[in-house]
């Protein structure tokens, strides 16, 4: 797992180390170049000053070096050296410090002298600057520099580089120290800065950790005062709101489910307790056993419906796609509840449809229509009308199924959002009426929705006055043909 803290520290310190090394190298070479250039410039200036002491008097070369001019060349132990050559190549003069040694003969011009590093015989490393030049001539007491008849003289001035190397070594030491210390120091600073920077993240993590299933209504302050965290807290708050709704739904579902089971449990328990209280009464025992059995059947039916819902809400539609005659399936579903339709004296309004074949998962489509029809018949008041339409949308390759019925317990617009919630029912009494004494669980439409989502069938519910309208839209290959009279 990556760590923002480590990534930031390694990135910043690594980058800084790289930059420092490059800067150190560049700095060192710049310092070395500058110091050497300055060293050479001074040597060149001294060389030019000494060269000015070389005179050509009518072809005769003279060198007049005054002791007081440049005392650094006088001592035998001096670290300054010079050597002058006559145009004929003979040594005209050399400083005492050279003690008979020769400086290298590398010549440039007075403006651009040649520089080099040489080790003298004495073992001293020297940096030498040398150039050829025209000696100063004098004619009619006028001194001038011009082409000498005798040719160009040459001069080399050198200096022990020990001091220069010592300075460069110090510079190098400073740069290396900086290269080593700066990243180390920056690692500490960056670590502190990152820790401070990430502190709001830690605080946010703490706040999130405090949120439990019972405190999902908690609102995290926008960004905890940090701009960069605002998008995260906004998304977290959105997530919390969604979780709260989902948890609320689950809690309600659990409460409803337990409530649904409480009544049949109470029926069963009371019946059995009463039977056992008067065990000598066989008739009571038999009646109580029947009550307990009926209550068990009710619980079993409810558990089966809940399991169907759980299965429907998980995974995708299994099973092959096959062609079904939608009107035929709808008719069969109404036939299954024909007794109840008769009992409730309901009127069915259905057209004589042609064959409309759709390609779909047959068991799921049948389950959807069965639940839809059963729901309409169960909840329609006695002596009312159920209208069922099948709408062919050939151009869209879709078939719509619409069921319209009035409700014994009228619905409101607010109820439409809750219709598909498992175990939700408008009538809180949860027992059937005199005509349909069966207990309803409120799972029919939840199953319809779950199955429809599996098949990708859109469901739409609406109210038109007292009428409840539910519409499904099956997609897939539709084939229409005339129904033959059977």
């Amino acid at each position: 797992m990556t760590s923002i803290r480590k990534t930031l520290i390694f990135s910043i310190v690594g980058g800084l180390l790289l930059l420092t090394v490059i800067s150190g190298f560049l700095g060192f070479f710049w310092a070395r170049h500058s110091l050497t250039h300055q060293f050479d410039t001074i040597l060149a200036a001294k060389a030019r000053a000494i060269a000015n002491l070389v005179e050509d008097e009518e072809g005769e070369i003279h060198f007049e070096f005054s002791d007081g001019n440049m005392p650094e060349f006088l001592s035998e132990k001096s670290d300054h050296f010079f050597q002058v050559w006559s145009p004929d190549g003979s040594v005209l003069a050399r400083s005492k410090s050279l003690a008979g040694q020769n400086l290298p003969q590398q010549w440039g011009s007075p403006k651009d002298p040649e520089a080099s590093v040489t080790e003298l015989r004495s073992g001293v490393n020297v940096r030498t600057v040398g150039f050829q030049f025209d000696p100063i001539q004098e004619k009619n007491e006028v001194r001038f520099v011009g082409p000498s008849k005798g040719g160009k003289a040459a001069i080399a001035v050198a200096r022990d580089t020990t001091d220069l190397e010592a300075i460069l070594a110090k510079v190098l030491l400073i740069i290396v120290s900086c290269v080593l210390l700066l990243p180390a120091a920056s690692a500490v600073v960056v670590s502190i800065a990152v820790s401070r920077g990430l502190r709001p993240l830690g605080a946010l993590a703490g706040r999130v950790a405090e949120i439990s299933a019972s405190s999902l209504k908690t609102h995290i302050n926008d960004g905890e005062g940090v701009v960069e965290l605002q998008p995260i807290t906004a998304r977290l708050n959105d997530l919390l709101a969604r979780l709260d709704i989902a948890f609320d739904r689950e809690r309600r579902f659990a409460m409803d489910a337990s409530h649904e089971l409480r009544t049949p449990l109470a029926e069963s328990r009371t019946a059995l307790e009463i039977a056992l209280k008067w065990p000598e009464d066989q008739q009571l025992l038999l009646g109580s056993a029947n009550h307990a059995l009926d209550a068990t059947y009710q619980m079993e039916a409810m558990v089966a419906a809940l399991l169907s819902l759980a299965r429907a809400e998980s995974g995708s539609a299994d099973g092959p796609v096959e062609s079904i005659d939608l009107p035929d399936v709808v008719r069969h579903c109404f036939d299954h509840v024909r007794d109840l339709i008769t009992k409730k004296n309901l009127e069915l309004s259905m057209s004589e449809w042609d064959v409309i074949n759709i390609s779909t998962n047959k068991p799921l489509a049948t389950a959807i229509i069965t639940n839809l029809v059963s729901n309409a018949v169960q909840y329609a008041p006695v002596m009312s009308t159920i209208q069922c339409d099948i709408i062919q949308k050939v151009d869209e390759n879709r078939v719509g199924l619409r069921v319209i019925n009035s409700m014994a317990v009228p619905l409101s617009d607010d109820d439409l959002d809750k219709l598909f919630e498992p175990l939700w029912r408008k009538d809180k009494s949860r027992t059937g009426d005199e005509v349909t004494p069966e207990v309803h669980f409120g799972l029919g439409l939840a199953l319809v929705k779950a199955y429809c989502e599996k098949l990708g069938v859109p469901v739409h519910v609406s109210l038109s006055g007292q009428m409840f309208i539910i519409e499904l839209s099956f997609s897939g290959t539709c084939r229409l043909s005339k129904r033959r009279a059977s």
Binding site: M255, H259, A266, G287, T431
Partner: protein
């Protein structure tokens, strides 16, 4: 004691009716809220056992309406709703007790007995009338320590008289509180029942001299401790 059970679950309603009747209560039942409310308003019940989620009119609405009419009948809510807010709402609306389904039948009976005692201002389940000891909790009666062999209805009659000991109880009151809608009491059913009960509690081997149940001509009956001992 006469009870009204308002419960929309047919099976539970029938079981409760059977069990409570066998325990010695006169029981009327209603399957929906509207019917239950009408019966509660019209009848003279000692305790109403009331479900909350009922068709046509919910239990809370029934309680609210009854209390608005200054009907002080004792109401025990019997519901599957166990959340605190429902209990609080029910009790605040004027219910006297709350029992959540599923429940133990004996607990329900005990709670009904408590409400009955409370109605008659008693805390002790043992009612003593001279040599007679009536235990409203175990629903047994004894005279001088000898347990009386009483049927459920005979005990109910004795209990009703004992709870109002020293007071004249009219025949109408006995009819209203001891007999439910199943029985159409004939004109002499109360007299006959009192006669049978009197024989059982005043048996010579119990040392009876004069009856503990005295007849007040054209008014009713009084159960009271009189100088009956030999």
């Amino acid at each position: 004691m006469r009870l009204l059970v308002v419960e929309d679950s047919r099976r539970l309603r029938q079981s409760l009716e059977e069990g409570l009747r066998r325990t010695g209560y006169a029981v009327d039942t209603a399957a929906d809220g509207q019917q239950g409310y009408e019966m509660a308003r019209a009848g003279s019940y000692d305790v109403i056992v009331l479900d909350l989620m009922l068709p046509n009119m919910n239990g809370i609405e029934i309680i609210r309406k009854l209390r608005q009419q200054h009907n002080d009948v004792y109401i025990l809510i019997l519901t599957a709703r166990d959340a605190v807010e429902y209990r609080v709402e029910g009790l605040r609306m004027g219910a006297d007790d709350y029992l959540v389904k599923p429940f133990a039948f004996d607990e329900l009976v005990a709670r009904i007995q408590t409400l009955v005692r409370r109605k008659h201002g008693l805390k002790n389940p043992l009612v003593v009338v001279g040599p007679l000891e009536i235990n409203t909790s175990s629903r047994t009666a004894a005279r001088n320590g000898s347990v009386l062999d009483l049927t459920a209805r005979e005990f109910a009659l004795l209990e009703y008289l004992a709870l109002r000991k020293g007071h004249i109880v009219s025949r109408t009151e006995i009819e209203e509180h001891i007999y439910d809608g199943r029985i159409e009491p004939a004109s002499n059913v109360v007299d006959s029942a009192v006669c049978v009960l009197r024989k059982k509690i005043d048996q010579p081997d119990h040392g009876a001299k004069d009856s503990l149940i005295q007849t007040k001509r054209n008014v009713g009956y009084v159960l009271d401790a009189v100088d009956t001992e030999a």
